[in-house]
Symmetry: C2
Subunit: 734 residues, 2 copies
């Protein structure tokens, strides 16, 4: 054991302080640039005005504005004018995309009693927006196929794979039936997709009060949750296959694009699907008999949940106006003073299902306020060094269409010029929720440390970590991995552009999502009264944008990236083990006849059979590549980069902005080559829910062992490519 | 590595088979006695008739028969005659016990709207028993105090300690309020006890549909669960303090007994308490405002559960006829042919709240059929070697009164003569559930291996183990530890007589417990159609009785006993560690201000403060005693015992039958000296729920560290006494 003298201790403290001071320079900035940037961000923050967000939301969410509406077009034109007035070069890019408007919506119980579903949410007192009658978009699921079916009903819980396993054990087949599934548990589009795979001929999705109705809290207008008439609209397009216009997969829906026949479009559902309220669902569910639903399937209606099939029979008839509809993306550019061909992209969609005060307007107005303040700084001589591209996407709701078509059209240019894409969407009171490319985690963590939480006065980083700690999670700021559900998808997963998705929430709960109740009245009572978190979002995203725009060296960081990816690998190793143990345990119980003996003979279950053993996979290609990467990353002299001569920094930046592309593979994921990123993808059977290392993970989950092994090799090669890329970066930064 | 020749292998197989054949002799029996016993049990089983159970249930459950009713007395007299006709010496022992009959029951919502609770369950079609009108006992909680209170209402979830911690964090005080608590989560008597400790002035208990109503399954009469009018009656006497007559604690309620003043009786509640249906609860709960209840508090009513206090105000007025009431225990004795002064006791209560088809008649008629068949064998010359005492207890429902008074009266004689007490109570379709003294675990496991499950054809042991395996539990038969809730309590916990509680269930779910719906109609539709499990219970308990009665050496076994007790100690060591870690983790989060930062400022919580560190306790007195015991037990030559000369066996048996008494301590548990057993007790704050090593465990749970240390020393001394006892046994069995 050493003993330090007092002077040694002092010297150490001095050294620590010095290094602390050094480390306070922003990531990617030299100390002088960092100080300058800090002043800039302070000025930026000081100029953000909640009143703007409020006024603009009142304007944009005054009327329904789904894609193709006049009001949607007016919003786009008005936004374009706004951006222009703030100093941006602005254009509207139009695509012509297939969009279905509901023509016929019939749902009726035909046996054992008759009930005609109302399919209409009621206007509520104190919220004039909900009383706009025919101007409101009828509730439906966009990209349901047309259909006219009648059959016995089966309740399938959330309609996810696990639920069908349970049904199989109960000996219940949905073939030829109509299923009724609850919202939640997966992205909605998975429900009709899986139901059709299982042979069902129709699908009803309803909002159970346990999930976002009275079980959660008081219902609208008394509280924020769903009353018995509220219906969640939403797309059921098979987005995990490809998002965007269903007729132009992988290329832009320009006027002259060659389009698929609608009947050939693989992302339209195979069976008709309709969303309903719990008021309409109750008579249907109440009419079911058959086994009582398992405990975990039960919802909040005051009934005993039975599975069926029947005796409830339902008739479902749907037809749609399938029309090419113009989608208007607003693209506003502020050319960079120093690197005009390095683009920092920033986007939010502007189309809504109805008024969309929360989704998307709350995010849109934050983006606009951010753009306005940055424009104002530019006018005063603080033009960003890199080019900023502010985007307001149309047709996000039906399937990320506006952004996808735009990325498909501009993919080549984007892959040359894009530094990163920062997305926002609905926003509300609560905690910073940040997802994205993990090479940006250090940057976002740094920014989160500099943004003050409006309610507590600590940084938003400290607040989210406090929450993590009370939930037994880690003492570090982390980005979640991006699945899908907003406009970052084409950027990161198709084009390989480093992306972020930023938003606040967690104290903005409610049941208004995609209903007629997502209004300015609802928002200002329950989601973000005073727009404090709208301002916080503008502050957060704006600082990220400004740092990316002004950094001496682009603030990508690979230490945290490596730890995260290595964590994903460890998850897969654990998954392999746990799947093996599960199968062994199961087979042991089958051999003991334990399932049969423990089951209630009056509630017969299918006799379980032995499962195939889980083979050991060779993970070494990924393990070795990651080992190599850890060494590459350890060699990077990141602290020295901002002080390098300009040409070296330019060369470094040129490489850094393309690192994310090294993580993509042009051949894409198995059976869905639109998805090219090898670290992140929306799950084929989860929808929005992310799968990390998706090629390997999904093959394992589906027990496709040969494919899993192939995907390990493919991932290994991709990581080798990243190794070469980081080696090149390392050699430049010496 | 060894290699065996073929002949060696054969020799080993031969040896294994031989030892297997040897080990097939029943525990406590020589091989010849074992064979004889096996034939006897076969004959016993063959004589059991489901039709008897059916007929007797129809008779006994024809009318309501709570303690003090004419029909209850008739049942007792009829049973006495039955026993007599089967060859038993039979008597009825009467005690005069305090029993409250409801005179006034008023519950009304007085603000913000008016609602008068109906307090009456409706008759249902197809069940004539439910239509007996005024003959049905009104719903109430026996041993609620009289009271007339009006106050704001507070919803307290299950009304257990954890719930009051949650309320405290929310800043909600129940002082001066009336609380409404759900049934379940604890024994009901804990709810008013704790509410009164917290300052509430009244308590309402209701059955939420999530617990035993429509959420669980179809309601009566369509299914077995509670409809909106069903009310669970039940005692709220403070049984964890002492059970039995409230006026004669620790001694028998004989005619001349000195009785406490009623106002001095410590086991009557401090505040009035009334049970209600979910139909009556709904208007009360719906009228509450204040914070929305936490997720885990929510029930199955179609409302948003708020906590209050108020604006709901309720008026609760209760008064009772407090009368000394005769309780009639039926005691039927079959004198042993060889050891008349060694008693095997067997009991079930006969009083019900209303008709009590399931509770208690289903168990009572199984006991009777068992007694009948054993009597018939005796008449044919197969009289048991030891004396059998069959008991039908009165006044179990209001507080284990009949059995407690009887044990208190006969305690001295019992402690000399009792070998064991075997209890049953309500019974139904499903799995063997056996609890009791762990020195009897090996015996019960052996018997369970010889009883065939009526539905699957395997042994009931194999079936329960299959269930354990599918639930991730152990591959061994085990007895649960006895808390309270039926008539074994005075035997084991007060008198130190080895006890068992046997029953079948798990496939007999329903909501009829203590309601007017616990009828013959309900039972034969939902609980045990065909009385197959009634026969299985008679078979199981009868075999246990017959083995205890006829064994050469009493079939107590200490290997499994030791493992179990050592397991309890390990739990306490784990508890100590986990409490320490929890406090440290909590204090860390308090220091970080994490609770405050992560809380929603619009839903204010009390700021948590640091908790006192959990000290290390000295467990060595118990650890060393157990070490000693493991050595004592290893030395016992159990296999040789049945072959010992008769005088040695007699001496052994005399010691063996008193081992359980060595586990008691006359001074009892802290603050409740009626409870003398040092391994098992009902929890002071759980009610029926068991606490093992209760002195130490409850002190730890209450963070009374000095008391915990004292109790460790006390337990160490008790285990030393067991050591001396086992040493004596070991020296005899050489």
């Amino acid at each position: 054991m050493y003993r330090f003298s007092a002077s040694t201790v002092l010297a150490i403290i001095f050294l620590l302080n010095t290094s602390l001071a050094q480390s306070q320079a922003m990531l990617g900035f030299s100390e002088p640039s960092s100080e300058k940037q800090s002043m800039l961000e302070t000025a930026f923050e000081a100029d953000l005005k909640a009143a703007n967000l409020d006024n603009w939301m009142q304007r944009m969410a005054a009327q329904p504005h789904w894609v193709g509406t006049n009001y949607g077009k007016e919003n786009a034109e008005w936004m374009a004018q706004q951006f222009k007035s703030w100093g941006y070069e602005t254009k509207i890019e139009r695509f012509d995309v297939l969009f279905p408007y509901p023509r016929t919506r019939v749902l009726e119980l035909t046996a054992p009693a008759a009930y005609q579903a109302k399919l209409t949410a009621v206007a509520v007192e104190g919220d004039p927006y909900t009383a706009q009658g025919d101007a409101l978009l009828p509730s439906y699921n966009a990209f349901s196929t047309d259909g006219d079916v009648e059959a016995e009903l089966v309740y399938v819980n959330y309609g996810v794979p696990k639920d069908y396993e349970d049904l199989e054990r109960l000996g219940i087949d949905v073939k030829g039936k109509i299923v009724i599934a609850k919202y939640y548990g997966s992205w909605r589009g998975i429900k009709p997709k899986l139901a059709a795979e299982k042979g069902a001929i129709g699908c009803i999705i309803y909002s159970d009060p346990a999930d976002d109705g009275y079980v959660q809290g008081d219902v609208y207008p008394e509280g924020p949750f769903k009353n018995s008439t509220g219906v969640q609209r939403g797309s059921v397009m098979d987005m995990p296959l490809y998002p965007g216009d269903v007729l132009t997969p992988g290329y832009a829906a320009t006027p002259d694009a060659k389009r698929l026949e609608r009947t050939q479009a693989p992302t339209i559902t195979k069976i008709p699907v309709l969303p309903i309220s719990y008021g309409d669902a109750r008579p249907l569910l109440e009419a079911l008999k058959g086994p009582v639903a398992p405990a975990s399937w039960k919802g909040g209606l005051p009934i005993t949940y039975h599975i069926g099939p029947g005796p409830a029979r339902v008739h479902l008839k749907l037809s749609f106006d399938w029309k090419l509809t113009p989608a208007y993306n607003v693209i506003a550019t502020l050319k960079g003073s120093q690197y005009p061909d390095q683009w920092v992209l920033r986007g939010n969609h502007h189309d809504a299902w109805v008024h969309g005060a929360a989704d998307p307007v709350s995010g849109m107005v934050a983006l606009m306020e951010e753009a306005r303040a940055i424009g104002a700084l530019a006018k005063k001589g603080n033009r960003p060094r890199r080019t900023l591209v502010y985007c307001a996407w149309d047709a996000e709701e039906p399937g990320l269409i506006g952004s996808t078509e735009w990325v498909e059209l501009h993919r080549e240019e984007l892959q040359k010029k894009a530094v990163a894409y920062i997305n926002t969407d609905g926003n509300g009171r609560g905690f910073l929720r940040a997802g994205g490319s993990h090479s940006l985690q250090a940057l976002v963590g740094e920014v989160a440390g500099s943004v003050t939480d409006p309610q507590t006065g600590v940084s938003v980083k400290e607040r989210i970590i406090a929450k993590q700690l009370t939930e037994g999670e880690k003492d570090e700021f982390a980005l979640y991995a991006l699945g899908s559900g907003s406009d970052y998808t084409p950027f990161i997963q198709h084009a390989g552009i480093a992306s972020l998705n930023l938003g606040y929430g967690g104290e903005n709960e409610g049941g208004e999502y995609h209903t007629i109740y997502d209004t300015y009245s609802h928002y200002t009572r329950f989601k973000d009264p005073g727009f404090q978190y709208g301002v916080a979002l503008a502050n957060t995203a704006g600082r990220v944008v400004l740092r990316l725009a002004n950094a001496d060296v682009l603030p990508f960081e690979f230490g945290q990236w490596y730890t995260t990816v290595d964590g994903y690998l460890k998850e897969l190793l654990g998954l392999s083990e746990s799947m093996r143990e599960t199968v062994e345990e199961h087979n042991k119980l089958v051999a003991r006849n334990a399932y049969e003996l423990s089951a209630d003979p009056q509630k017969p279950l299918l006799k379980p059979t032995k499962m195939a053993t889980v083979p050991y996979l060779d993970f070494s290609p990924v393990q070795n590549a990651l080992l190599q990467l850890s060494q590459d990353i350890a060699k990077l002299k990141v602290e020295q980069w901002p002080a390098l001569p300009a040409p070296d920094r330019d060369a470094l930046n040129a490489l850094l902005m393309r690192t994310e592309q090294a993580l993509t593979e042009e051949s894409g994921l198995p059976r869905r080559n639109w998805y090219k990123h090898q670290l992140y993808a929306p799950g084929f059977y989860t929808g929005y829910g992310v799968k990390t290392l998706p090629g390997v993970r999904e093959a394992m989950e589906q027990k496709e062992w040969a494919e899993a092994q192939e995907e390990i090799h493919k991932l290994g090669k991709v990581l080798q490519r990243v190794h070469a890329h980081l080696e090149a970066i390392g050699s430049l930064g010496q």
